[in-house]
Amino acid sequence: MSGYLESQLIILCLNVIYAYGIFLPAASGQLNLGAAGFITIGAYASAWFNASGVPMYLAIPAAMVFAATIGFVIAFPILRTRGVYMVLATFAFAEVVAGLIINLEFLGAAAGYPVDSHADYLVVVPVTILVVLLCFFLMSTRLGLAMRSIHDDEAVATLFGVDVRLAKVAAFTLGAALMSLGGALYAHHYNYIETQTFNVLVSIYILLYVLLGGTQTAWGPLIGAAFFTIVPEALRQIATASGQAWIAESRFIFFGAIIVLMMVFRPEGLVTRTLIDRIAMPFGGRSGPARAAGAV
Protein backbone atom coordinates (compact mmCIF):
# COMPACT_ATOMS: atom_id res chain seq x y z
CA MET A 1 0.00 0.00 0.00
CA SER A 2 1.34 3.40 -0.93
CA GLY A 3 2.19 5.82 1.84
CA TYR A 4 -0.45 8.27 0.65
CA LEU A 5 -3.26 5.71 0.56
CA GLU A 6 -2.24 4.38 3.95
CA SER A 7 -2.28 7.84 5.50
CA GLN A 8 -5.75 8.49 4.06
CA LEU A 9 -6.99 5.10 5.26
CA ILE A 10 -5.79 5.86 8.79
CA ILE A 11 -7.57 9.23 8.80
CA LEU A 12 -10.73 7.56 7.54
CA CYS A 13 -10.54 4.86 10.25
CA LEU A 14 -9.99 7.37 13.04
CA ASN A 15 -12.87 9.53 11.81
CA VAL A 16 -15.17 6.49 11.70
CA ILE A 17 -14.27 5.53 15.29
CA TYR A 18 -14.77 9.12 16.52
CA ALA A 19 -18.09 9.28 14.65
CA TYR A 20 -19.41 6.15 16.37
CA GLY A 21 -18.40 7.64 19.70
CA ILE A 22 -20.67 10.61 18.98
CA PHE A 23 -23.32 8.47 17.28
CA LEU A 24 -24.16 6.34 20.33
CA PRO A 25 -25.38 9.30 22.42
CA ALA A 26 -26.87 10.96 19.31
CA ALA A 27 -28.96 7.86 18.56
CA SER A 28 -30.65 8.40 21.91
CA GLY A 29 -31.17 12.09 21.20
CA GLN A 30 -28.13 13.67 22.87
CA LEU A 31 -25.90 16.16 21.07
CA ASN A 32 -22.30 15.82 22.21
CA LEU A 33 -19.85 18.51 21.11
CA GLY A 34 -17.16 17.21 23.45
CA ALA A 35 -15.48 14.75 21.10
CA ALA A 36 -12.14 16.55 21.31
CA GLY A 37 -12.17 16.20 25.10
CA PHE A 38 -12.53 12.43 25.08
CA ILE A 39 -10.10 12.03 22.18
CA THR A 40 -7.53 14.07 24.13
CA ILE A 41 -8.06 11.99 27.27
CA GLY A 42 -7.67 8.74 25.31
CA ALA A 43 -4.55 9.93 23.51
CA TYR A 44 -2.76 11.30 26.58
CA ALA A 45 -3.82 8.47 28.90
CA SER A 46 -2.62 5.76 26.55
CA ALA A 47 0.60 7.65 25.83
CA TRP A 48 1.25 8.15 29.54
CA PHE A 49 0.53 4.50 30.44
CA ASN A 50 2.80 3.48 27.57
CA ALA A 51 5.57 5.81 28.76
CA SER A 52 5.22 4.34 32.26
CA GLY A 53 6.12 0.91 30.90
CA VAL A 54 2.71 -0.54 30.07
CA PRO A 55 2.75 -2.23 26.65
CA MET A 56 0.57 -0.58 23.99
CA TYR A 57 -2.03 -3.35 23.76
CA LEU A 58 -2.75 -2.88 27.47
CA ALA A 59 -2.27 0.89 27.55
CA ILE A 60 -5.05 1.45 24.97
CA PRO A 61 -7.73 -0.52 26.86
CA ALA A 62 -6.60 1.09 30.11
CA ALA A 63 -6.98 4.52 28.51
CA MET A 64 -10.49 3.51 27.36
CA VAL A 65 -11.47 2.46 30.87
CA PHE A 66 -10.06 5.72 32.23
CA ALA A 67 -11.98 7.85 29.70
CA ALA A 68 -15.16 5.79 30.17
CA THR A 69 -14.98 6.38 33.91
CA ILE A 70 -14.71 10.12 33.35
CA GLY A 71 -17.55 9.90 30.82
CA PHE A 72 -19.69 7.98 33.31
CA VAL A 73 -19.11 10.50 36.08
CA ILE A 74 -19.78 13.62 34.00
CA ALA A 75 -22.75 11.95 32.26
CA PHE A 76 -24.95 12.55 35.29
CA PRO A 77 -24.66 16.36 35.41
CA ILE A 78 -24.41 16.72 31.63
CA LEU A 79 -27.47 14.58 30.89
CA ARG A 80 -29.57 16.92 33.01
CA THR A 81 -29.15 19.43 30.19
CA ARG A 82 -30.91 19.19 26.86
CA GLY A 83 -30.50 20.27 23.26
CA VAL A 84 -28.32 23.31 22.75
CA TYR A 85 -27.47 23.42 26.47
CA MET A 86 -26.03 19.93 26.26
CA VAL A 87 -24.01 21.03 23.24
CA LEU A 88 -22.58 23.87 25.33
CA ALA A 89 -21.94 21.69 28.39
CA THR A 90 -20.03 19.06 26.40
CA PHE A 91 -18.12 21.77 24.54
CA ALA A 92 -17.13 23.30 27.88
CA PHE A 93 -15.96 19.88 29.07
CA ALA A 94 -13.63 19.56 26.06
CA GLU A 95 -12.22 23.04 26.75
CA VAL A 96 -11.57 22.11 30.38
CA VAL A 97 -9.65 18.99 29.30
CA ALA A 98 -7.51 20.99 26.88
CA GLY A 99 -6.93 23.67 29.50
CA LEU A 100 -5.85 21.10 32.07
CA ILE A 101 -3.41 19.25 29.85
CA ILE A 102 -1.75 22.37 28.50
CA ASN A 103 -0.84 23.14 32.15
CA LEU A 104 0.37 19.66 33.12
CA GLU A 105 4.17 19.56 32.88
CA PHE A 106 4.42 15.77 33.17
CA LEU A 107 2.32 15.50 29.97
CA GLY A 108 4.56 17.89 28.11
CA ALA A 109 2.25 20.89 28.57
CA ALA A 110 2.23 23.17 25.49
CA ALA A 111 5.31 21.49 23.98
CA GLY A 112 3.40 18.31 23.15
CA TYR A 113 4.01 14.75 24.21
CA PRO A 114 5.97 12.08 22.33
CA VAL A 115 4.50 8.55 22.25
CA ASP A 116 6.65 5.42 22.35
CA SER A 117 4.93 2.44 20.71
CA HIS A 118 3.77 2.64 17.11
CA ALA A 119 0.47 1.32 15.73
CA ASP A 120 0.37 0.94 11.95
CA TYR A 121 -2.67 0.29 9.77
CA LEU A 122 -2.53 -3.43 10.64
CA VAL A 123 -3.70 -2.39 14.10
CA VAL A 124 -5.92 0.56 13.22
CA VAL A 125 -7.96 -1.06 10.43
CA PRO A 126 -8.96 -4.26 12.28
CA VAL A 127 -9.84 -2.26 15.40
CA THR A 128 -12.01 0.04 13.30
CA ILE A 129 -13.83 -2.94 11.78
CA LEU A 130 -14.45 -4.29 15.28
CA VAL A 131 -15.86 -0.93 16.39
CA VAL A 132 -18.22 -0.82 13.39
CA LEU A 133 -19.42 -4.38 14.05
CA LEU A 134 -19.88 -3.65 17.76
CA CYS A 135 -22.02 -0.61 17.01
CA PHE A 136 -24.14 -2.49 14.46
CA PHE A 137 -24.62 -5.20 17.06
CA LEU A 138 -25.50 -2.70 19.78
CA MET A 139 -28.10 -0.95 17.63
CA SER A 140 -29.73 -4.27 16.82
CA THR A 141 -30.24 -5.15 20.48
CA ARG A 142 -33.13 -4.23 22.75
CA LEU A 143 -30.84 -1.60 24.30
CA GLY A 144 -30.49 -0.10 20.81
CA LEU A 145 -34.27 -0.22 20.41
CA ALA A 146 -34.62 1.55 23.77
CA MET A 147 -32.09 4.21 22.69
CA ARG A 148 -33.97 4.88 19.44
CA SER A 149 -37.24 5.04 21.39
CA ILE A 150 -35.75 7.64 23.73
CA HIS A 151 -34.70 9.64 20.67
CA ASP A 152 -38.32 9.67 19.47
CA ASP A 153 -40.28 10.08 22.71
CA GLU A 154 -38.60 9.94 26.10
CA ALA A 155 -41.81 10.12 28.15
CA VAL A 156 -43.48 7.24 26.35
CA ALA A 157 -40.32 5.13 26.51
CA THR A 158 -40.36 5.62 30.29
CA LEU A 159 -44.01 4.53 30.53
CA PHE A 160 -43.15 1.27 28.79
CA GLY A 161 -40.49 0.51 31.37
CA VAL A 162 -37.34 1.86 29.71
CA ASP A 163 -34.84 3.16 32.25
CA VAL A 164 -34.15 6.34 30.29
CA ARG A 165 -31.32 7.57 32.48
CA LEU A 166 -29.54 4.21 32.45
CA ALA A 167 -29.76 3.98 28.66
CA LYS A 168 -28.53 7.56 28.19
CA VAL A 169 -25.63 7.14 30.62
CA ALA A 170 -24.68 3.83 28.96
CA ALA A 171 -24.70 5.44 25.50
CA PHE A 172 -22.68 8.44 26.67
CA THR A 173 -20.14 6.29 28.52
CA LEU A 174 -19.68 3.84 25.65
CA GLY A 175 -19.31 6.80 23.30
CA ALA A 176 -16.60 8.24 25.55
CA ALA A 177 -14.77 4.89 25.47
CA LEU A 178 -14.90 4.74 21.66
CA MET A 179 -13.65 8.31 21.21
CA SER A 180 -10.78 7.65 23.61
CA LEU A 181 -9.96 4.51 21.62
CA GLY A 182 -9.74 6.69 18.52
CA GLY A 183 -7.55 9.16 20.41
CA ALA A 184 -5.25 6.40 21.66
CA LEU A 185 -4.86 4.99 18.16
CA TYR A 186 -4.07 8.50 16.90
CA ALA A 187 -1.38 8.87 19.56
CA HIS A 188 0.24 5.54 18.75
CA HIS A 189 0.04 6.02 15.01
CA TYR A 190 1.55 9.51 14.83
CA ASN A 191 3.74 9.01 17.93
CA TYR A 192 3.35 12.64 18.88
CA ILE A 193 0.39 14.49 20.38
CA GLU A 194 -0.40 18.04 21.37
CA THR A 195 -3.68 19.48 22.65
CA GLN A 196 -4.00 21.94 19.76
CA THR A 197 -4.57 19.03 17.37
CA PHE A 198 -7.83 18.16 19.13
CA ASN A 199 -9.53 21.52 18.92
CA VAL A 200 -13.17 22.51 18.73
CA LEU A 201 -13.15 22.19 14.93
CA VAL A 202 -12.55 18.46 15.40
CA SER A 203 -15.60 18.20 17.67
CA ILE A 204 -17.72 20.15 15.19
CA TYR A 205 -16.68 18.04 12.21
CA ILE A 206 -17.34 14.77 14.03
CA LEU A 207 -20.79 15.92 15.16
CA LEU A 208 -21.45 16.97 11.54
CA TYR A 209 -20.40 13.54 10.21
CA VAL A 210 -22.97 11.96 12.50
CA LEU A 211 -25.84 14.42 12.02
CA LEU A 212 -25.39 14.59 8.25
CA GLY A 213 -24.82 10.84 8.00
CA GLY A 214 -27.98 10.14 9.97
CA THR A 215 -28.63 9.03 13.53
CA GLN A 216 -31.41 6.51 12.89
CA THR A 217 -29.30 3.55 11.79
CA ALA A 218 -25.75 2.38 12.44
CA TRP A 219 -24.99 3.12 8.76
CA GLY A 220 -25.22 6.87 9.35
CA PRO A 221 -21.84 7.57 11.04
CA LEU A 222 -20.03 5.15 8.70
CA ILE A 223 -21.39 6.79 5.56
CA GLY A 224 -21.15 10.30 7.04
CA ALA A 225 -17.51 9.96 8.14
CA ALA A 226 -16.50 8.25 4.89
CA PHE A 227 -18.27 10.84 2.73
CA PHE A 228 -16.80 13.85 4.52
CA THR A 229 -13.30 12.34 4.70
CA ILE A 230 -13.13 11.21 1.10
CA VAL A 231 -14.93 14.01 -0.78
CA PRO A 232 -12.73 16.97 0.30
CA GLU A 233 -9.60 14.91 -0.26
CA ALA A 234 -10.85 13.76 -3.67
CA LEU A 235 -11.55 17.37 -4.64
CA ARG A 236 -7.99 18.25 -3.69
CA GLN A 237 -6.68 15.36 -5.80
CA ILE A 238 -8.79 16.40 -8.77
CA ALA A 239 -7.45 19.92 -8.44
CA THR A 240 -3.84 18.72 -8.37
CA ALA A 241 -4.32 16.32 -11.27
CA SER A 242 -6.12 18.82 -13.50
CA GLY A 243 -3.89 21.72 -12.55
CA GLN A 244 -7.00 23.76 -11.63
CA ALA A 245 -5.87 25.26 -8.36
CA TRP A 246 -9.20 27.07 -7.89
CA ILE A 247 -10.91 23.71 -7.20
CA ALA A 248 -8.57 23.09 -4.27
CA GLU A 249 -8.97 26.63 -3.04
CA SER A 250 -12.76 26.65 -3.26
CA ARG A 251 -13.37 23.10 -2.09
CA PHE A 252 -14.61 24.31 1.28
CA ILE A 253 -17.23 26.36 -0.56
CA PHE A 254 -18.43 23.13 -2.25
CA PHE A 255 -18.27 21.45 1.09
CA GLY A 256 -20.37 24.14 2.76
CA ALA A 257 -22.85 24.05 -0.10
CA ILE A 258 -23.21 20.28 0.26
CA ILE A 259 -23.95 20.69 3.98
CA VAL A 260 -26.62 23.33 3.31
CA LEU A 261 -28.20 21.23 0.55
CA MET A 262 -28.28 18.20 2.79
CA MET A 263 -29.98 20.12 5.57
CA VAL A 264 -32.63 21.19 3.04
CA PHE A 265 -33.17 17.87 1.29
CA ARG A 266 -32.21 15.30 3.90
CA PRO A 267 -32.77 16.95 7.30
CA GLU A 268 -32.74 13.59 9.05
CA GLY A 269 -29.39 12.66 7.56
CA LEU A 270 -28.04 10.96 4.46
CA VAL A 271 -28.99 7.46 5.62
CA THR A 272 -32.47 7.13 7.10
CA ARG A 273 -34.47 4.15 8.21
CA THR A 274 -36.76 4.42 5.19
CA LEU A 275 -33.77 4.52 2.84
CA ILE A 276 -32.35 1.32 4.33
CA ASP A 277 -35.74 -0.36 3.95
CA ARG A 278 -35.90 0.73 0.35
CA ILE A 279 -32.45 -0.64 -0.50
CA ALA A 280 -33.31 -3.71 1.63
CA MET A 281 -29.89 -4.25 3.12
CA PRO A 282 -29.39 -7.61 4.81
CA PHE A 283 -28.90 -6.09 8.25
CA GLY A 284 -28.94 -2.84 10.20
CA GLY A 285 -32.65 -2.31 9.79
CA ARG A 286 -35.17 -5.11 10.10
CA SER A 287 -35.87 -5.02 6.42
CA GLY A 288 -37.07 -8.59 5.92
CA PRO A 289 -40.64 -7.88 6.96
CA ALA A 290 -40.64 -4.69 4.90
CA ARG A 291 -39.95 -6.65 1.77
CA ALA A 292 -42.61 -9.15 2.72
CA ALA A 293 -45.08 -6.33 3.25
CA GLY A 294 -44.10 -4.75 -0.04
CA ALA A 295 -44.82 -8.02 -1.83
CA VAL A 296 -48.37 -8.27 -0.45
Partner: protein, 267 residues
Amino acid sequence: MADDVLSIEGLHKSFGGLKVIDDVGFAVKRGSRTALIGPNGAGKTTIFNLLTGVYPVDGGTMVLDGRDITHVPAKDRVIFGMSRSFQNIRLMPHLSTVENVMLGQHARARRLGDLLYPLGFRPRNRWATAAKEALEEAGLETYPGQVVANLPYGVQKRIEVVRAMVSQPRLLLLDEPAAGLNQVEAQQLLALLEKVSESGVTLLVVEHDMHFVHNLCDHVAVLNFGKKIFEGTPAEVNDDPLVREAYLGSDTSMAGRGAAEGAADAS
Protein backbone atom coordinates in the same frame (compact mmCIF):
# COMPACT_ATOMS: atom_id res chain seq x y z
CA MET B 1 -61.29 -5.04 47.91
CA ALA B 2 -59.99 -8.12 46.19
CA ASP B 3 -62.14 -7.77 43.09
CA ASP B 4 -61.00 -4.22 42.40
CA VAL B 5 -58.08 -4.09 40.02
CA LEU B 6 -57.66 -0.38 40.71
CA SER B 7 -58.82 1.78 43.56
CA ILE B 8 -58.17 5.49 43.87
CA GLU B 9 -58.82 7.36 47.09
CA GLY B 10 -58.74 11.06 47.91
CA LEU B 11 -56.63 11.95 44.89
CA HIS B 12 -55.45 15.57 44.71
CA LYS B 13 -53.44 17.42 42.08
CA SER B 14 -52.94 21.14 41.57
CA PHE B 15 -51.00 23.01 38.91
CA GLY B 16 -50.10 26.25 40.64
CA GLY B 17 -53.32 27.60 42.12
CA LEU B 18 -55.52 25.50 39.86
CA LYS B 19 -57.04 22.42 41.50
CA VAL B 20 -57.15 20.00 38.59
CA ILE B 21 -58.05 16.91 40.62
CA ASP B 22 -59.94 17.55 43.84
CA ASP B 23 -60.54 14.60 46.17
CA VAL B 24 -61.37 12.09 43.45
CA GLY B 25 -61.94 8.48 44.42
CA PHE B 26 -63.33 5.53 42.50
CA ALA B 27 -62.70 1.85 42.00
CA VAL B 28 -62.39 -0.21 38.85
CA LYS B 29 -63.73 -3.77 39.16
CA ARG B 30 -61.65 -6.60 37.78
CA GLY B 31 -62.75 -7.50 34.28
CA SER B 32 -64.97 -4.44 33.94
CA ARG B 33 -65.02 -1.93 31.12
CA THR B 34 -65.14 1.37 32.93
CA ALA B 35 -65.54 4.70 31.20
CA LEU B 36 -64.22 7.97 32.59
CA ILE B 37 -66.15 10.81 31.01
CA GLY B 38 -66.61 14.55 31.49
CA PRO B 39 -66.23 17.85 29.68
CA ASN B 40 -62.88 19.05 28.36
CA GLY B 41 -60.58 20.11 31.17
CA ALA B 42 -62.40 17.98 33.76
CA GLY B 43 -59.14 16.18 34.64
CA LYS B 44 -59.58 12.84 32.86
CA THR B 45 -56.20 12.75 31.17
CA THR B 46 -54.60 14.13 34.34
CA ILE B 47 -55.89 11.08 36.21
CA PHE B 48 -54.22 8.88 33.60
CA ASN B 49 -51.00 10.86 33.98
CA LEU B 50 -51.14 10.48 37.76
CA LEU B 51 -51.84 6.77 37.46
CA THR B 52 -48.91 6.18 35.10
CA GLY B 53 -46.57 8.44 37.06
CA VAL B 54 -46.09 11.22 34.50
CA TYR B 55 -46.86 13.66 37.35
CA PRO B 56 -46.44 13.05 41.09
CA VAL B 57 -49.66 13.25 43.15
CA ASP B 58 -50.25 16.02 45.70
CA GLY B 59 -52.30 13.71 47.91
CA GLY B 60 -54.26 10.48 48.00
CA THR B 61 -53.47 6.89 47.18
CA MET B 62 -53.63 4.69 44.11
CA VAL B 63 -53.75 0.92 44.63
CA LEU B 64 -53.23 -1.34 41.63
CA ASP B 65 -54.08 -4.98 42.12
CA GLY B 66 -53.54 -4.78 45.87
CA ARG B 67 -50.24 -2.90 45.66
CA ASP B 68 -49.83 0.78 46.46
CA ILE B 69 -48.29 2.43 43.38
CA THR B 70 -48.65 6.04 44.54
CA HIS B 71 -44.90 6.56 44.84
CA VAL B 72 -43.56 3.92 42.44
CA PRO B 73 -41.33 5.50 39.69
CA ALA B 74 -43.06 5.83 36.30
CA LYS B 75 -40.72 3.36 34.59
CA ASP B 76 -41.63 0.59 37.06
CA ARG B 77 -45.41 0.98 37.07
CA VAL B 78 -45.86 -0.95 33.84
CA ILE B 79 -44.40 -3.99 35.63
CA PHE B 80 -47.22 -3.79 38.18
CA GLY B 81 -49.68 -4.55 35.39
CA MET B 82 -50.83 -1.26 33.89
CA SER B 83 -50.36 0.05 30.39
CA ARG B 84 -51.87 2.86 28.34
CA SER B 85 -52.56 4.43 24.97
CA PHE B 86 -52.46 8.18 24.33
CA GLN B 87 -54.91 10.89 23.34
CA ASN B 88 -52.65 12.00 20.50
CA ILE B 89 -50.92 9.06 18.90
CA ARG B 90 -47.51 8.61 20.45
CA LEU B 91 -45.98 5.77 18.54
CA MET B 92 -42.28 6.13 17.83
CA PRO B 93 -42.31 7.64 14.32
CA HIS B 94 -38.88 6.32 13.31
CA LEU B 95 -39.51 2.75 14.41
CA SER B 96 -41.30 0.10 12.38
CA THR B 97 -44.61 -1.37 13.49
CA VAL B 98 -42.94 -4.48 14.91
CA GLU B 99 -40.30 -2.40 16.71
CA ASN B 100 -43.00 -0.24 18.28
CA VAL B 101 -44.74 -3.36 19.52
CA MET B 102 -41.42 -4.76 20.77
CA LEU B 103 -41.00 -1.59 22.83
CA GLY B 104 -44.19 -2.66 24.59
CA GLN B 105 -42.39 -5.87 25.60
CA HIS B 106 -39.62 -3.89 27.30
CA ALA B 107 -41.08 -4.23 30.80
CA ARG B 108 -40.70 -8.01 30.52
CA ALA B 109 -37.17 -7.83 29.09
CA ARG B 110 -35.12 -5.63 31.39
CA ARG B 111 -32.42 -8.13 32.36
CA LEU B 112 -28.96 -7.54 30.89
CA GLY B 113 -29.18 -10.67 28.73
CA ASP B 114 -32.45 -9.45 27.23
CA LEU B 115 -31.13 -5.94 26.71
CA LEU B 116 -28.15 -7.25 24.73
CA TYR B 117 -30.08 -9.76 22.67
CA PRO B 118 -29.55 -8.90 18.97
CA LEU B 119 -33.19 -8.59 17.88
CA GLY B 120 -32.18 -7.14 14.52
CA PHE B 121 -29.70 -9.86 13.53
CA ARG B 122 -32.24 -12.61 14.07
CA PRO B 123 -35.51 -11.61 12.43
CA ARG B 124 -37.22 -14.79 13.64
CA ASN B 125 -36.41 -14.39 17.35
CA ARG B 126 -39.11 -15.05 19.91
CA TRP B 127 -39.68 -11.35 20.70
CA ALA B 128 -40.25 -10.37 17.08
CA THR B 129 -42.39 -13.48 16.53
CA ALA B 130 -44.53 -12.65 19.55
CA ALA B 131 -44.89 -9.05 18.35
CA LYS B 132 -45.96 -10.18 14.88
CA GLU B 133 -48.46 -12.62 16.38
CA ALA B 134 -49.95 -9.84 18.50
CA LEU B 135 -50.28 -7.70 15.36
CA GLU B 136 -51.89 -10.59 13.47
CA GLU B 137 -54.44 -11.11 16.23
CA ALA B 138 -55.39 -7.48 15.90
CA GLY B 139 -55.69 -7.84 12.12
CA LEU B 140 -52.64 -5.67 11.44
CA GLU B 141 -50.37 -8.29 9.87
CA THR B 142 -49.84 -6.37 6.61
CA TYR B 143 -47.64 -3.64 8.07
CA PRO B 144 -44.91 -5.24 10.25
CA GLY B 145 -41.77 -3.71 8.73
CA GLN B 146 -43.14 -0.30 7.81
CA VAL B 147 -42.13 2.86 9.63
CA VAL B 148 -45.31 3.85 11.46
CA ALA B 149 -45.25 7.55 10.50
CA ASN B 150 -46.67 6.68 7.06
CA LEU B 151 -49.55 4.46 8.21
CA PRO B 152 -53.23 5.48 8.30
CA TYR B 153 -54.51 7.10 11.50
CA GLY B 154 -56.93 4.30 12.38
CA VAL B 155 -54.19 1.70 11.98
CA GLN B 156 -51.83 3.68 14.21
CA LYS B 157 -54.54 3.89 16.89
CA ARG B 158 -54.87 0.10 16.89
CA ILE B 159 -51.08 -0.39 16.90
CA GLU B 160 -51.02 1.70 20.09
CA VAL B 161 -53.46 -0.74 21.67
CA VAL B 162 -51.36 -3.71 20.56
CA ARG B 163 -48.19 -2.07 21.91
CA ALA B 164 -49.89 -1.52 25.27
CA MET B 165 -51.22 -5.10 25.29
CA VAL B 166 -47.88 -6.86 24.77
CA SER B 167 -46.70 -5.59 28.15
CA GLN B 168 -49.36 -8.01 29.45
CA PRO B 169 -51.30 -5.54 31.61
CA ARG B 170 -54.18 -6.41 33.90
CA LEU B 171 -55.46 -2.86 33.51
CA LEU B 172 -55.43 -1.09 30.15
CA LEU B 173 -55.88 2.70 30.14
CA LEU B 174 -57.23 4.09 26.86
CA ASP B 175 -57.20 7.86 26.35
CA GLU B 176 -59.84 8.78 23.76
CA PRO B 177 -59.31 5.69 21.62
CA ALA B 178 -62.12 6.56 19.19
CA ALA B 179 -61.22 10.24 18.69
CA GLY B 180 -60.71 11.08 15.03
CA LEU B 181 -61.76 7.67 13.77
CA ASN B 182 -64.42 7.19 11.08
CA GLN B 183 -67.32 4.73 11.57
CA VAL B 184 -65.48 1.76 10.08
CA GLU B 185 -62.28 2.40 12.03
CA ALA B 186 -64.27 2.87 15.26
CA GLN B 187 -66.00 -0.47 14.65
CA GLN B 188 -62.64 -2.19 14.08
CA LEU B 189 -61.31 -0.66 17.28
CA LEU B 190 -64.42 -1.68 19.21
CA ALA B 191 -64.00 -5.26 18.02
CA LEU B 192 -60.34 -5.22 19.09
CA LEU B 193 -61.17 -3.81 22.53
CA GLU B 194 -63.94 -6.37 23.06
CA LYS B 195 -61.43 -9.10 22.25
CA VAL B 196 -58.97 -7.57 24.73
CA SER B 197 -61.68 -7.37 27.39
CA GLU B 198 -62.72 -11.00 26.84
CA SER B 199 -59.10 -12.08 27.41
CA GLY B 200 -59.54 -10.87 31.01
CA VAL B 201 -57.97 -7.41 30.83
CA THR B 202 -59.80 -4.62 32.64
CA LEU B 203 -60.42 -1.49 30.58
CA LEU B 204 -60.49 2.09 31.82
CA VAL B 205 -61.53 4.34 28.94
CA VAL B 206 -61.58 8.13 28.61
CA GLU B 207 -63.94 8.87 25.74
CA HIS B 208 -66.18 11.67 24.45
CA ASP B 209 -68.10 9.53 21.97
CA MET B 210 -71.07 8.43 24.13
CA HIS B 211 -72.21 6.03 21.44
CA PHE B 212 -68.83 4.29 21.72
CA VAL B 213 -69.08 4.32 25.52
CA HIS B 214 -72.56 2.77 25.47
CA ASN B 215 -71.36 0.05 23.10
CA LEU B 216 -68.22 -0.82 25.03
CA CYS B 217 -68.54 0.03 28.70
CA ASP B 218 -70.49 -1.43 31.61
CA HIS B 219 -69.60 1.21 34.20
CA VAL B 220 -69.21 4.98 34.04
CA ALA B 221 -67.54 7.59 36.26
CA VAL B 222 -68.15 11.25 35.44
CA LEU B 223 -65.73 14.07 36.28
CA ASN B 224 -66.42 17.79 36.22
CA PHE B 225 -63.92 20.48 37.28
CA GLY B 226 -61.71 17.88 38.96
CA LYS B 227 -64.49 16.33 41.04
CA LYS B 228 -66.37 13.08 40.56
CA ILE B 229 -70.04 13.94 40.09
CA PHE B 230 -71.47 10.54 39.20
CA GLU B 231 -70.69 6.85 39.15
CA GLY B 232 -72.97 4.10 37.82
CA THR B 233 -74.08 2.21 34.72
CA PRO B 234 -74.23 3.78 31.25
CA ALA B 235 -78.05 3.51 31.38
CA GLU B 236 -78.22 5.51 34.58
CA VAL B 237 -75.81 8.19 33.41
CA ASN B 238 -78.28 9.54 30.87
CA ASP B 239 -80.89 10.16 33.57
CA ASP B 240 -78.67 11.89 36.09
CA PRO B 241 -79.56 15.60 36.17
CA LEU B 242 -76.09 16.67 37.32
CA VAL B 243 -74.36 14.87 34.47
CA ARG B 244 -76.87 16.18 31.97
CA GLU B 245 -76.24 19.69 33.07
CA ALA B 246 -72.46 19.36 33.16
CA TYR B 247 -71.81 17.25 30.14
CA LEU B 248 -74.47 15.48 28.13
CA GLY B 249 -76.84 18.38 27.57
CA SER B 250 -80.54 18.44 28.31
CA ASP B 251 -81.73 16.42 25.32
CA THR B 252 -80.70 12.90 26.32
CA SER B 253 -82.22 11.34 23.21
CA MET B 254 -79.16 12.83 21.51
CA ALA B 255 -76.81 10.78 23.66
CA GLY B 256 -74.77 9.83 20.65
CA ARG B 257 -72.42 11.85 18.52
CA GLY B 258 -74.00 15.13 19.61
CA ALA B 259 -72.98 14.62 23.22
CA ALA B 260 -69.72 16.54 23.07
CA GLU B 261 -71.36 19.54 21.40
CA GLY B 262 -74.14 19.40 24.00
CA ALA B 263 -71.50 19.60 26.69
CA ALA B 264 -70.02 22.68 25.08
CA ASP B 265 -73.45 24.35 25.09
CA ALA B 266 -74.12 23.44 28.69
CA SER B 267 -70.88 24.96 29.90
